[in-house]
């Protein structure tokens, strides 16, 4: 039961509560202890570090210091922006001279910068063996078996390399590995790390729609049945804005969080994974997948039974043949 | 020693420091040449001894200069990575770091010893090194303490050990 300091950030308590709910459910299932950092505060997101470098470092550092004080050596920050800010602060304090000395009096208590920072994809990739075992062990048929899913990383999850460093910044594979672990088929498409418009969602919505449209079209053209994300902002730009960008009669493209996907593979109930909170309704897709899986399992069972029956019949014929042989003409091979 | 009045802030008793400079031929000596061709006026207290490289400059030279009455010493050569012999100045830097700390431990005021990197194109920097060294040593006054070490019979006029030329003429 590895215990990890859990830093939810504002979006996981707000607009993307489903990410928080599915994370908690999956973490419990995988035996990962999540303890929310007491008295955590805002990580500064993009407004922090764009206004002032020291502010951009001190805000996330406060949370790292709290985790350190509360005895943790790893912080899980599922939201890509929080993860990026916490890691960037940790790197800045470790490398820029003069910063480490300022921290104690800014934060009000000593800070050794000893805490490591991970995001949800990293955590699940590292646990992919356990996921595979658990998926196999689940009684209910795996709805994602062989389903084509497109892993969408966005920009903050893997870049800049010095800050994130756990995956290739241009051709990342960590989320694809998690998709494989869930038995699904990760799609090789072209927009894995293309921008979704990020914070321009409100100020320049037209651009966000154009970018989102290009991402979804590319995923669809490669046969993806759903797009998997690990960042609340990517999720809202692709899910919340999808109706505005959709053309008449187009099949909607459900947008799932990586934790929701793992939850489904582990047979958890959609409602526990917050799958009802999406703008693009996920229910039809899930229902179809569950039905498909059931049919498949049934078909397999049937095929097995027939095979067993045929084998039994052949064994039967053979016994008869042997009996005829002994009473036959040349009893040569009699044992 | 003529007591020429020195206009540039002379000490009360008109003391003029005597400074010996050990410089490398490729950079600082040429830098001093450039100061000359650029007519950069500077204090006249410094006498230059040329060596192929700072790598060749031995702490014994500096101790001997103090023994012969120098009030201050300058050691200067090529900037790191510019050495004509690729690494002479790197070895000199380590040697003089140890020597500088040892002399300070023994009680010699480090401001009497000036170490600098002056390249062949830094005539102005050479003038500043000279003027600064002269000003520092002038403020410190004559190195009486060193001279007091040798009792009268130490034979100063013909320092012990130098081969005395028996001159017929």
């Amino acid at each position: 039961m590895t215990d990890v300091a859990y830093y939810p950030g504002c979006s996981l308590h707000g607009t993307s509560r489903e990410f928080d709910e599915s994370l908690r459910a999956v973490a419990a299932e995988l035996g990962i202890g999540l303890t929310e950092i007491a008295d955590w505060s805002c990580c500064g997101a993009s407004s922090g570090h764009t206004t002032d470098h020291l502010l951009g470092v001190a805000l996330p550092a406060r949370n790292l210091a709290l985790a350190e004080a509360q005895g943790f050596d790893t912080v899980l920050a599922p939201c890509a922006a929080c993860y990026n800010r916490l890691s960037a602060a940790r790197l800045a304090i470790a490398t820029e001279d003069g910063l480490a000395e300022q921290m104690p009096d800014i934060l009000g208590h000593p800070f050794a910068n000893s805490v490591d920072v991970h995001n949800a994809v990293e955590l699940l990739r590292d646990a992919s063996v356990t996921i595979e075992e658990k998926v196999a062990a689940t009684l209910a048929p795996n709805p994602l078996e062989g389903v084509k899913l497109a892993a969408y990383y966005g920009c903050l999850l893997v870049r800049p390399f010095e800050v994130c460093g756990y995956d290739d910044p241009e051709q990342p594979t960590s989320m694809d590995e998690v998709i494989d672990a869930c038995g699904a088929d990760d799609v090789d498409w072209d927009m894995k790390v293309e921008c979704c418009g990020g914070a321009f969602s409100v100020s320049r919505t037209a651009s966000v729609l154009r970018l989102g449209r290009a991402i979804i079209d590319n995923a669809r053209s490669h046969g993806a049945e759903a797009i998997i994300v690990a960042c609340p902002l990517c999720h809202s730009n692709l899910d919340l804005r999808q109706k505005a960008m959709a053309q008449r009669g187009e099949e909607p493209m459900p947008i799932l969080f990586v934790t929701q996907m793992v939850g489904l593979a582990l047979g958890l109930a959609p409602v526990d994974l917050g799958l009802g909170r999406h703008f693009v309704d996920t229910e039809p897709l899930i229902a179809r997948l569950v039905q498909q899986a059931a049919k498949r399992v049934a078909a397999e069972k049937l095929a097995k039974e027939e095979a067993a029956a045929k084998a039994a019949a052949r064994a039967e014929k053979q016994k008869v043949g042997v009996a005829a042989g002994t009473s036959g003409a040349e009893g040569g091979e009699a044992q | 020693m003529s007591d020429a009045v020195d206009t540039s802030g002379a000490a009360a008793d008109g003391f003029e420091p005597r400074i010996t400079a050990f410089v490398c031929n490729w950079c600082t000596y040429t830098g001093a040449d450039l100061a000359g061709t650029s007519r950069l006026h500077m204090a006249s207290n410094v006498r230059i001894i040329r060596l192929p490289c700072t790598g060749r400059i031995d702490p014994l030279f500096i101790v001997k200069s103090f023994e012969r009455g120098a009030d201050g010493v300058i050691v200067s050569g090529c900037h790191p990575a510019d050495c004509h012999y690729t690494s002479g100045n790197y070895h000199a830097r380590r040697r003089f770091a140890v020597f500088h700390d040892l002399m300070e431990f023994v009680g010699v005021d480090p401001r009497r010893m000036t170490f600098s990197w002056v390249s062949a194109s830094e005539g102005a920097k050479w003038r500043d090194v000279v003027d600064e060294a002269v000003a520092n040593v002038r403020a410190l006054g004559p190195f009486e303490a060193y001279r007091a070490l040798a009792p009268e019979d130490a034979g100063v006029a013909a320092p012990a050990g130098a081969r005395v030329e028996a001159e017929a003429s």
């Binding site: 290739d168 910044p169 241009e170 051709q171 072209d190 | 020693m1 003529s2 020429a4 005597r18 010996t20 000596y29 040429t30 001093a32 040449d33 450039l34 100061a35 000359g36 061709t37 007519r39 950069l40 006026h41 500077m42 006249s44 006498r47 230059i48 001894i49 040329r50 060596l51 192929p52 490289c53 790598g55 060749r56 400059i57 031995d58 030279f61 001997k64 200069s65 012969r68 009455g69 120098a70 009030d71 004509h84 012999y85 690729t86 690494s87 002479g88 070895h91 000199a92 040697r95 003038r127 001279r147 100063v156 006029a157 320092p159 130098a162 030329e165 028996a166 001159e167 017929a168 003429s169």
Partner: protein, 675 residues
């Protein structure tokens, strides 16, 4: 007892204005050891020099001190004058009373007193000068050229034409280097093979050139004029004397689908192969890695799995059991011309470099590099000159040329500009438009660097006459989209994002030094810069020499170079080598260190600080030849006279001539300030 002549120069007004030259002369007249003093208006003039010569003869002077300008100005002049007057030139020194005295002081009293001090100091020094002779080192008049590209060939030809023997060592099976892979060359578009092959044949047939292909330099000992070089001739499995280059073995070889290095992976070759038709020497090499017979032997098969080439060979020149052989050559000078290789955008990168994930790490089909395009465009290439894309062999209707891939990008580990890509990109665009008239050539560039003779006109022609579209901006992503290569770029002039559906993309990747150059540089005790290019002695004044005397450098192993540069540098090294070989012995200034073997204890601290590796350990024996210890020995041929060894020597057992301890001690004494 010294008889020193002191000559004080007025240098017109330069010294005379602030230094009282007569007073200085007077002060030096009765200085111990001074036998003659004179001041003159212009010592460096002819009458001035005559004055010195006459004084030497009349007063049989044993030393001369000229108090005038800096030794950097006229030391040579006055030393030559003394030499002509029969006085050993190293007994002459200059006292710098101009740059270090008259020019930098106004007070006449102070300046004069300082001039006297400076002159007296140098007089004391000269008393301890030694009459020295320049050092003569025997020179083996044979040169070694490492690398058989155009630079190596040119250097070898120049030296050989100069009447000296040259040993040319080439790592590959044939000389010609990367130039042999090119189709046509800028800026004149003449065919590369046509201008190169004659040179290759000339080098092969030159009586003075001994060619070793499929060979590498194993070890280098010695110093300038006296190198001993051990060369490894890798096992070719073909007897060079018997083979007449008929090619039957290649026909017979069953392994036909091995990617050819010469064709940059676009064409195939057999296991026993000659890299290209015009190869020199035209003798094949057996690639034991891919040969079926050797694969079988490695698996330990009892019977050989193949042997077709041996059967087909009428001259019985094939020998499967040949081993690497070594030969040793006595060499006087070495020219390094190992050339370049192209940076690859792949995932696997040497230390310090990063690949291009943005362009697909080289896994996107129809994204090729410059050399591959050269092979497509070359008449003897895999497509016989037709521009066809590697994936499906179709003629690309839209080709995108991307400049600066790797170059000028410290993020990828290559901060420098590779110099030749702007030119060959323009050439590629031209060649493409000449062969595919209705094709569209788009080039993404940052700046066009075409500074050579006729270069800018050439790149302008690509745009104005051949219609290449030049877009000023970078390409951000390249990926496969169905049958098309999607190129995302940005046009900084029109401030718009540009998306091009290309059929083929050519990346102008950076030039890097060849593999193995760092190890070779260590063997030659030559340094390399952080990118692995060999360091020249001085970027402006000694561009083709290195800090190791006798080792010269030409072509792209020193920095990104185009063919004109490489040939010019090669001829420059030729000139340097020929001047080195012009005299039977190498004459060097005697400013070298000498070890006093009586007091040296062989601690070798001096050898550790010598930047030139000039100090070796030498056994010393008792009279009956029994080795009783070891001492340091300074090789006069290699010592450059920095004196660091003397300062490090605890017992002062090593003396740097011209700057001995006695000389410096006497200078310090002369500055004795005691009243």
């Amino acid at each position: 007892m010294s008889r020193i002549g002191v000559f004080i120069c007025h240098c017109g007004e330069n010294i005379g204005r602030t230094v009282d030259c007569e007073a200085v002369t007077e002060a030096l007249k009765d200085h111990p050891g001074v036998a003659f003093t004179e001041d003159y208006k212009y010592m460096c003039s002819d009458p001035g020099q005559q004055l010195v010569k006459k004084a030497i003869e009349d007063n049989d002077l044993t030393g001369v001190v000229v108090a005038a300008c800096s030794p950097h100005m006229h030391e040579k002049t006055f030393r030559r004058a003394c030499d002509q007057a029969g006085l050993n030139k190293y007994m002459c020194e200059m006292a710098n009373i101009r740059e270090h005295c008259s020019w930098i002081h106004e007070d006449r009293g102070e300046a004069t007193e300082k001039a006297v001090d400076i002159t007296r100091t140098i007089v004391e020094k000269v008393k301890h000068n030694q009459p020295l002779e320049s050092i003569h080192i025997p020179v083996t008049k044979r040169a070694l050229v490492i690398g058989g590209g155009i630079a190596g060939i040119q250097a070898a030809l120049d030296i050989a034409d100069g009447g000296h023997e040259v040993v040319l060592v080439e790592k590959e099976a044939s000389i010609g280097g990367h130039m042999s892979q090119l189709s046509e060359t800028f800026p004149t578009l003449d065919c590369s093979q046509c201008i190169l092959t004659p040179r290759m044949v000339e080098a092969y047939q030159h009586p003075n050139i001994k060619l070793h292909t499929w060979s590498e330099v194993e070890k280098v000992d010695g110093y300038i004029g006296n190198f001993t070089v051990k060369i490894r001739k890798k096992a070719r499995s073909v007897n060079e004397d018997l083979c007449n280059g008929c090619g039957d073995c290649q026909e017979a070889c069953p392994a036909k689908r091995i990617p050819s290095e010469f064709e940059a992976g676009l064409g195939n070759r057999t296991a026993i192969y000659v890299p290209f038709p015009q190869a020199v020497p035209n003798i094949p090499v057996l690639d034991r890695q891919n040969c079926t017979l050797f694969k079988g032997r490695r698996k330990g098969l009892a019977k050989d799995a193949c042997g077709k080439c041996k059967e087909a060979c009428l001259k019985d020149a094939i020998d499967y059991d040949a081993e690497d052989t070594f030969i040793e050559e006595e060499i006087g000078a070495i020219v390094v011309a190992t050339g370049f290789q192209l940076y690859s955008i792949g995932r696997e990168q040497p230390e310090g470099l990063k690949g291009y994930g943005e362009y697909g790490y080289g896994e996107v089909p129809d994204v090729i590099d410059g050399l591959q395009f050269e092979r497509l465009a070359s008449a003897s290439g895999p497509t016989a000159g037709a521009i066809l894309r590697p994936s499906d062999g179709k003629e690309p209707k839209t080709v995108v040329f991307v400049h600066c891939v790797g170059s000028r990008d410290s993020e990828k580990g290559i901060s420098y500009c590779s110099k030749i890509c702007c030119m060959y990109n323009a050439k590629h665009a031209m060649l493409y438009k000449h062969k595919v008239h209705d094709g569209r050539a788009v080039a993404f560039y940052m700046d066009i660097r075409a500074a050579g003779k006729g270069y800018d006109e050439f790149s302008r022609r690509a745009i104005e006459e051949d219609g290449a579209e030049y877009i000023r901006g970078r390409v951000s992503r390249i990926f496969r989209d169905g049958d098309v290569v999607k190129v995302w770029g940005y046009d900084t002039l029109s401030q718009e994002q540009v998306v091009i559906d290309a059929d083929m993309v050519v990346l102008a990747t950076a030039m890097r030094p060849q593999d193995g150059v760092r190890e070779l540089a260590q063997k030659l005790s030559v340094s390399t810069d952080e990118h692995g290019f060999i360091n020249e002695a001085h970027p402006k004044l000694r561009p083709v020499e290195t800090n190791t005397a006798g080792v010269f450098v030409a072509g792209a192993c020193q920095a990104p170079r185009d063919i004109p540069d490489a040939v010019a540098m090669a001829s420059a090294t030729g000139a340097k080598v020929l001047s080195l070989f012009s005299a039977d012995e190498l004459e060097r200034e005697p400013a070298v260190a000498i070890v006093n073997e009586n007091t040296c204890i062989g601690c070798m601290n001096c050898a550790k600080v010598c930047a030139y590796g000039a100090i070796e350990q030498r056994e010393i024996c008792t009279v009956d030849g029994h080795v009783c210890g070891h001492v340091a020995y300074v090789n006069p041929g290699v010592c450059q006279g920095c004196g660091t060894c003397q300062a490090v020597c605890l017992s002062k057992s090593v003396e740097l001539q011209t700057f001995t301890d006695e000389q410096i001690f006497s200078e310090i004494n002369a500055l004795c300030y005691w009243e």
